[in-house]
């Protein structure tokens, strides 16, 4: 009955509850969107690794990431790797994280150097043009071309060179790390790097498991690190998440604090309005715990409704973002939903704790003065 009273009395103050829930929902939506964008961008980062066509990636010993890492593998290693049993095909790519200028706008990109006719590591889906590049040519993400107004036949600047855009690729854009493809020689010249690749992309025979092949390569080829695509994707996304953990935690903390203050303020006003009823409950013999339970229920109700509103709001925003702002990859994961639900529960508990003293200080004797 006390829970019913708590719920109904809160619902009676509909306007206040709605205003508070919306305000808290706005804070939760911020957390949701921040996480969704981060997750989307992180996933997008791994798209190249997943779609490059390799089962195993061979890099310099001690290097276990592509993201934010450099790897140099001598050209001779390619033949050694190709001779390992279970290898169907191997191709080399050279890559660099650097700025690429599109119509005066600078974008931080992954520049992947490939050789003509190479399938592994080359663009896998094209919007327009061709996927193969000759020296002096470049394939850029279609989204980036649209955003910057560069089309086929236009040029972009990589390092000190103007390269001709010959293809617009799909699924290669992310706001933080779009992937552009150039001829391997252009990139090697830019890096002043001859005789080296960044990594080798290996396809396994059908009867060979990628994990098994990676172990075999490491055993038979000196000074290399071999990882399955699955392992590399996991390693790169983990690194990207790790880099964002503190920022996300800070953002979540700020929004949670804001939400706690909002719920706390709402409950403060609500308990002030219901002060007499709280005193009546105490006079009747309800313990402090009973009254506190009512406050917890009310705080939880505000937080839960805010969570629901935020979830709906985020779904709408994510859909709008995908439709209107294709430069941002948005991905709402069950993990993020659970985490914000946890934040919501914490907000309700902390907001209730803020009121513990107030609830405890309600004097039952005041019922006779009202």
């Amino acid at each position: 009955m006390i829970v019913r009273w708590a719920v109904v009395s809160l619902l009676q103050a509909r306007l206040r509850m709605l205003a508070s829930s919306l305000a808290v929902a706005a804070a939760f939506t911020l957390v949701f969107m921040f996480r969704a964008v981060w997750e989307g961008e992180t996933r997008q980062l791994a798209t190249y690794l997943e779609r490059a066509g390799a089962d195993v990636w061979v890099m310099q010993a001690g290097v276990s990431n592509v993201h934010m890492a450099s790897s140099f593998v001598g050209r001779a290693k390619r033949r050694e790797v190709e001779s390992v049993e279970g290898v169907r095909a191997a191709a080399a790519v050279l890559y660099l994280n650097s700025m690429v200028t599109f119509s005066g706008q600078r974008w931080f990109c992954y520049i992947v150097g490939i050789e003509p006719g190479q399938r592994l590591g080359a663009p896998w889906a094209m919007a327009e043009g061709r996927s193969q590049v000759q020296p002096g040519e470049v394939v850029v993400p279609g989204v980036l071309a649209r955003v910057s107004g560069v089309g086929l036949g236009g040029s972009v600047k990589v390092g000190d060179r103007d390269l001709l855009v010959v293809g617009l690729s799909e699924e290669t854009f992310s706001a933080t790390n779009p992937v552009v493809f150039v001829h391997r020689e252009d990139l090697a010249d830019l890096l002043w790097l001859e005789g080296y690749d960044s990594c080798l992309l290996v396809q396994a025979n059908e009867d060979t498991a990628p994990g098994e092949l990676a172990l075999r390569i490491e055993a038979e080829v000196d000074a290399v690190e071999a990882m399955t695509t699955e392992e590399l994707v996991e390693s790169d996304t983990a690194l990207a998440r790790q880099m964002g953990t503190q920022i996300i935690a800070l953002m979540t903390g700020i929004c949670a604090a804001l939400a706690t203050l909002l719920v706390g303020f709402t409950m403060y006003v609500h308990t002030a309005r219901l002060g007499t009823e709280l005193a009546v409950l105490k006079a009747m013999g309800f313990q402090r715990g009973h009254v506190y339970l009512a406050v917890v229920v009310q705080s939880s109700l505000v937080a839960a409704s805010a969570f629901g509103l935020a979830l709906a709001g985020t779904a709408i925003l994510a859909s709008l973002t995908r439709g209107l702002a294709t430069v941002v990859a948005v991905r709402l994961t069950p993990g993020a939903v659970l985490e914000v639900a946890g934040v919501g529960a914490l907000v309700a508990i902390v907001a209730s704790l803020l009121l513990a003293r107030r609830v405890a200080s309600v004097e039952p004797a005041t019922v006779f003065r009202t």
Binding site: M1, W5, T276, E277, V280, M284, G285, A365, V367, T370
Partner: protein, 293 residues
């Protein structure tokens, strides 16, 4: 709990508010026993300590000194959690402002205290049915308090106070917000309940009509209590307005030309002071202020 020991008993009860020179003794050495089935009315001027005494008797307030026993248990030093349990099982409250919970229906308001009793709400449903019937509220059981008349609200409050078959009902100005007809009705309900349920009823009021149903009428002034019916009334007239004033209880007095005068209000005293000659005639008063020594 027996009639001999009383449902509620206070001994040398003192409650002081404030400290030092500013300390006010709201209740000053009150010893009182109320037995089962007894209706005790406590009257007195505003600020005389009536509500404080009621709060002490209901274990809502702790005394500065003295003791309070409810249903045979000394509650003076009882921990708060036990006090709450004791109130739930032994004390019902009826307030001037009704103090029903707006979010709950009539029936839910009545059943609410049963949540704290053995058996809980389920076991109290038939009791609630009986009380709602007796207080003519059956057809209003699903109504919200906001839709009830003042009389109905107070009847709901009475049913709520009785749901746990408590031995003690404390009512603070139960007719204060009601018109004369509804006030009389509520008074009779309280009277019937005391008789039929055998519980002690203590009523704090300014309403002289309630005196009629009381077994005892106590007068509380300056924190001290006395049995009003045991003392003879000595009526004198206010020299200004001519209203009858109880010499015992009148608080506004003035000595003029060697004689004491009593007034019904400060306003009358001020009018008297401005022009005493207008109210004192032929060596006497225009309205004779008799019986003042």
């Amino acid at each position: 709990m027996t009639d001999a020991s009383g449902v509620v008993r206070t001994r040398d009860l003192v409650r002081t508010f404030g400290e030092g020179r500013r300390a006010i003794r709201a209740v000053d050495g009150v010893s009182l026993t109320v037995a089962s089935g007894e209706i005790v009315v406590i009257m007195g001027p505003s600020g005389s300590g009536k509500t404080t005494l009621l709060s002490l008797m209901g274990a809502l307030l702790r005394p500065t000194s003295g003791t309070v026993e409810i249903a045979g248990q000394d509650v003076t030093g009882m921990p708060e959690a036990r006090l709450a349990r004791l109130r739930a099982r032994n004390v019902g409250f009826v307030f001037q402002g009704f103090n029903l919970l707006d979010a709950l229906t009539v029936e839910e308001n009545v059943l609410l205290p049963a949540q704290l009793n053995d058996g809980g709400i389920g076991a109290a449903r038939s009791r609630a049915e009986e009380l709602l019937g007796r207080l003519e509220l059956l057809d209003r059981r699903t109504a919200r308090p906001a839709t009830l008349s003042g009389g109905e609200k107070q009847r709901v409050a009475i049913a709520r106070a009785l749901i746990n078959r408590v031995p003690l009902v404390l009512a603070d100005e139960p007719t204060g917000n009601l018109d004369s007809q509804r006030g009389a009705e509520v008074t009779m309900r309280l009277h019937d309940i005391a008789r039929d349920e055998g519980c002690a009823v203590v009523i704090v009021t300014h309403d002289p009509r309630i005196e009629d149903v009381a077994d005892r009428v106590l007068w509380l002034e300056d924190g001290r209590v006395r049995d009003r019916r045991a003392d003879p009334h000595v009526w004198v007239r206010d020299p200004v307005c001519g209203m009858q004033v109880d010499e015992w209880t009148a608080g506004i007095r003035l000595t003029h030309a060697g004689r004491d005068y009593l007034f019904c209000s400060e306003r009358c005293r001020e009018r008297f002071l401005r022009e005493p000659g207008a109210y004192v005639q032929d060596g006497g008063d225009r309205h004779r202020n008799e019986g003042v020594s």
